[in-house]
Symmetry: C2
Subunit: 195 residues, 2 copies
Amino acid sequence: MGRKTGSHSEITGPKIRLAALKLFARHGFAAVSMRQIALDVGVQAGALYLYTPDKQSLLFGLMQDHMTGLLAAWATQPQPANPVDQLRHFTEFHILYHLDRPDAVFVSYMELRNLTPENFAIIEGLRRSYEDELEAILKRGQTTDVFSLPDTKIATLALIAMLTGVNTWYRQSGRLSRNKVNAIYWDMVRKAVAA
Amino acid sequence: MGRKTGSHSEITGPKIRLAALKLFARHGFAAVSMRQIALDVGVQAGALYLYTPDKQSLLFGLMQDHMTGLLAAWATQPQPANPVDQLRHFTEFHILYHLDRPDAVFVSYMELRNLTPENFAIIEGLRRSYEDELEAILKRGQTTDVFSLPDTKIATLALIAMLTGVNTWYRQSGRLSRNKVNAIYWDMVRKAVAA
DNA sequence: CTGGGAATTGAACAGATGTTCAGTTATATT
DNA sequence: AATATAACTGAACATCTGTTCAATTCCCAG
């Protein structure tokens, strides 16, 4: 047996990444074998190595793509004039972007310990950059006295933890629409940082 | 080779649970082999099966012990008179209890997907019970108009996510004492739910 | 000091693991 | 139609996996 009919790298490549993301999110990186990913794609395990040098790079690529995608998407967002509106916009952006990519979010937060030290440092740097975006907003509000925070860095981490937590319970079929979820969280965020 | 000098089940048993907890937290359940746990304890892999029927039960036992310990500890806590003080007390209790057990917390939150469905249901039930403790406080404050929340269930999950997030960044050698951390988080929690 | 139970070893089991590669088939180019 | 290259197979590799168990050694009660 050799090449399969209708096979193209632009199709198989994304298929592999998608299957890996799904399976890593569901069962965890270490619990998923290359053969399971291959089975999900409909290909033999050896074929995966045409698209990734090894399993570790596959994981790293998924996490890196997620983080750079997140940063790029935020970079294109218009910045409102005042810190309160900026924070509202960040809150909404964060919740919606994360709700749209549950698998990538899950993997990016849960599989950090399965990265090599070098890869971990890179992902950690990207995450830091994202946190800095929020902290910048909080600092601006702090200096203009519309926010009151004992520690902007801790507040940043606390808010992000709270917002990302939506992914653990939100279900599309649940009682709350995405807009309603946004409103509920914005109410808490707004008050939590209020002067 | 047979029994080792000075060997007793009351010593080896806890040693195994502790080593498993540490290694599961560091590398993840699926990434840790029974042989690695045995090596850490200083014993052969076969000896582990005198203390657990299988690897799954070892994980489940650790998670169950953590959750029941958490619930039992909270149950012994004195309940202040008004909801605001109750919430303050819950916040402090949660942060300190979790900071004291980083490995158990990490494993209990990260390895849920490696539990069998039956074991998952049990752990999930315990977690629900703990969430209900916080939600009861929020509901009491809501009815007495000291809290103002669009949705007490969501607020519960949001606050717990925020508080548990401390474990991801807190380091004993860091710039903030545990009391300072408590104060910072209580400031945000108090305001977030305020009427 | 002896006998019985408690604690552990070390080897073995069948199967799964990540990864490589010579061989094979399809697609694209001329 | 012939050729080149892209895509994939299937088998093989050494090693690791969870788990079992007869044999062995140690502890302790009588």
